[in-house]
């Protein structure tokens, strides 16, 4: 075994062992204290429910996942575009940044109720709008910082090369902002999934993971509800890992590589 793969293994086994131990303790606790299924189902029961409902869970995952994905893409696109405007025009920055910070501080999830009112009951648009909004702020704030917070020495250097603002943007600001974009995406990707679930709690078609969790709890199908929770966890994890993978592909020698090297 090479040194690096042994190193990777030494990083992986502690959380894996801990996770397995946790599930074992949970299983044993449910058995030992005779918890009722409505209070806390055993992992084995959840696993059985998961196996029995795999295709239903998969369908619900696709619905929530698609909402999250569309919101993530659109929100990222708008966030990046707005970040460029902010970096370019001082006035836009002064107008928008306090607003963005203020909006980010309030629980904007509740807006989904307003969006629901604007569209037909069967529409997925309100949920996607909600995800877009959440992602948009995360991306905007991070990318704007990446574009703006370029050290003075780099700007002096570029001016000494007689570089125009456009050249500075292209050669310095944009590459400098790339790691910031991926930092944003690593936060925004799981957040988009969470937002997609929570949006389903505010009504609309009962077809996503969030709706299914709520309806199964209402029917006291607790093991089934937990099985959907497992699906939700896997979806969130998949989104996060996709963001990490994208970062590694996009910045092979960059700061991401340094983290890996020093890990």
């Amino acid at each position: 075994m090479s040194r690096s793969s042994r190193h990777a293994l030494s990083l992986v086994w502690p959380p894996v062992v801990f996770g397995v131990a946790l599930i074992l303790v949970w299983e044993l606790a449910v058995k030992a204290f005779d918890f009722q299924p409505y209070f806390l189902p055993a992992p084995s029961a959840i696993w059985d429910a998961f196996r029995a409902n795999t295709s239903l869970i998969w369908e619900a995952t696709k619905v929530s996942g698609l909402n999250a994905l569309i919101g993530l893409i659109v929100g990222t696109a708008i966030g990046v575009a707005m970040a460029f405007l902010l970096a370019r025009f001082r006035l836009v920055d002064d107008l928008l940044t306090p607003l963005a910070v203020a909006l980010n501080a309030i629980p904007i999830f509740v807006l989904v109720a307003v969006f629901n009112n604007m569209y037909p009951v069967t529409s997925e648009v309100p949920r996607r709008l909600m995800v877009t909004l959440v992602v948009y702020f995360i991306v905007l704030i991070n990318v704007a910082r990446g574009l703006r917070e370029v050290g003075g020495v780099y700007l002096d250097l570029m001016r000494s090369y007689a570089a125009s603002d456009v050249t500075i943007l292209r050669k310095v600001r944009v590459p400098h902002a790339v790691p910031y974009l991926f930092t944003a995406l690593k936060i925004a990707a799981p957040a988009s999934v969470i937002t997609a679930f929570v949006s389903e709690y505010f009504g609309g078609v009962q077809n996503g993971l969030g709706s299914r969790i709520v309806s199964n709890i209402a029917l006291s199908n607790n093991a089934e509800a937990w099985a959907y929770v497992v699906g939700a966890c896997l979806l969130g994890l998949a989104f996060f890992l996709a963001a990490v993978a994208l970062e590694r592909v996009a910045t092979p020698g960059g700061p991401g590589a340094r983290e890996r090297d020093e890990a």
Partner: protein, 281 residues
């Protein structure tokens, strides 16, 4: 660099500064007079250090030569052209206290940057970058990224980058200020070698007296509030300077002369103080 004394410059000046002054925030309550009445001529091939305490405007003066800031009065000529034209023609290379390497670029790509901006094609700029890295003895690190290099190595890459387009003039703002003493002395020797090989004129800002004396053909002493030139001291330690040069009587005498100039005391009144020199270093 040639072995000709800087004072015998043959007429051609790399930098000419006439009646220069700089006021930051003019007309406001927080106005600061950074520089006043600066006249300075730097002959081609000279190595001129600007030395003085913090706030004496030495960095501002360098930035004015580089046209990174505009003078309030007076004019700056670089290579016989107005400073702005010289900047647009990329007549100088610049290095700062921070190496200022771009993290996402390999070492070679960092060195290539000024050439890229000049529109060089890929093959020739890569060839030049390798040549420059050889000059700073970092050939084997061409494919590395900046964070894989030590501070001294990063600074050498920055020097290679500043010289990549073979500018006739190199402007350096405390480039070794963040390095430890051993690395610093090594870098000074390397810089002299590189400047000699490339025949580059250098304007060098520092607050280290031994550094200024070791490197320069001429030391310009400045005083603060407002920044003025109070003394110009010619140093002639010879073209072949090495570690041993730092232990010669001539070196100590010049160090003392610069120190006394900084104190505003006549050098004749004071004996060379070797212990103090060592401390300073």
């Amino acid at each position: 660099m040639t072995s000709t004394p800087a004072s015998a410059g043959g007429g051609a000046n790399a930098v000419e500064v006439r009646g220069l002054s700089k006021v930051f925030n003019p007309g406001r309550p927080d106005a600061v007079e950074a520089l006043a009445d600066i006249d300075l001529a730097i002959p081609v091939g000279a190595f001129v250090s600007l030395i003085g305490p913090s706030g004496c405007g030495k960095s501002t003066q360098l930035r004015l030569i580089a046209n990174l800031t505009e003078p309030t009065t007076g004019e700056v000529l670089v290579n016989g052209k107005p400073a702005r034209a010289a900047r647009l023609d990329q007549d100088y290379g610049m290095a700062f206290q921070q190496a200022g390497l771009f993290e996402w670029r390999s070492v070679a790509k960092n060195v290539e940057l000024p050439l890229e901006l000049k529109g060089w094609d890929k093959a020739s700029r890569h060839a030049r970058a390798l040549e420059m890295l050889e000059l700073v003895k970092l050939s084997e690190f061409a494919g590395h990224f900046p964070w894989q290099l030590s501070g001294g190595m990063q600074q050498r890459v920055a020097i290679a980058r500043a010289l990549a387009a073979h500018p006739p003039l190199l402007l350096m703002d405390e480039p070794f200020g963040a390095l430890d003493e051993m690395t610093r002395e090594h870098m000074q020797t390397e810089l002299l070698r590189i400047c000699a090989e490339t025949a580059t004129t250098v304007v060098f800002v520092t607050h280290s007296i031994p550094e200024a004396v070791f490197l320069s053909t001429r030391v310009v002493v400045m005083s603060p509030r407002p920044g003025r030139i109070t003394d110009v001291i010619d140093v002639a330690l010879g073209a072949e300077r090495s570690v041993d040069t730092r232990e010669t009587a001539a070196f100590f005498a010049k160090v003392t002369e610069v120190r006394e100039a900084l104190r505003g005391i006549q050098p004749a009144d004071v004996e060379p103080d070797i212990e103090q020199v060592t401390e300073e270093r």
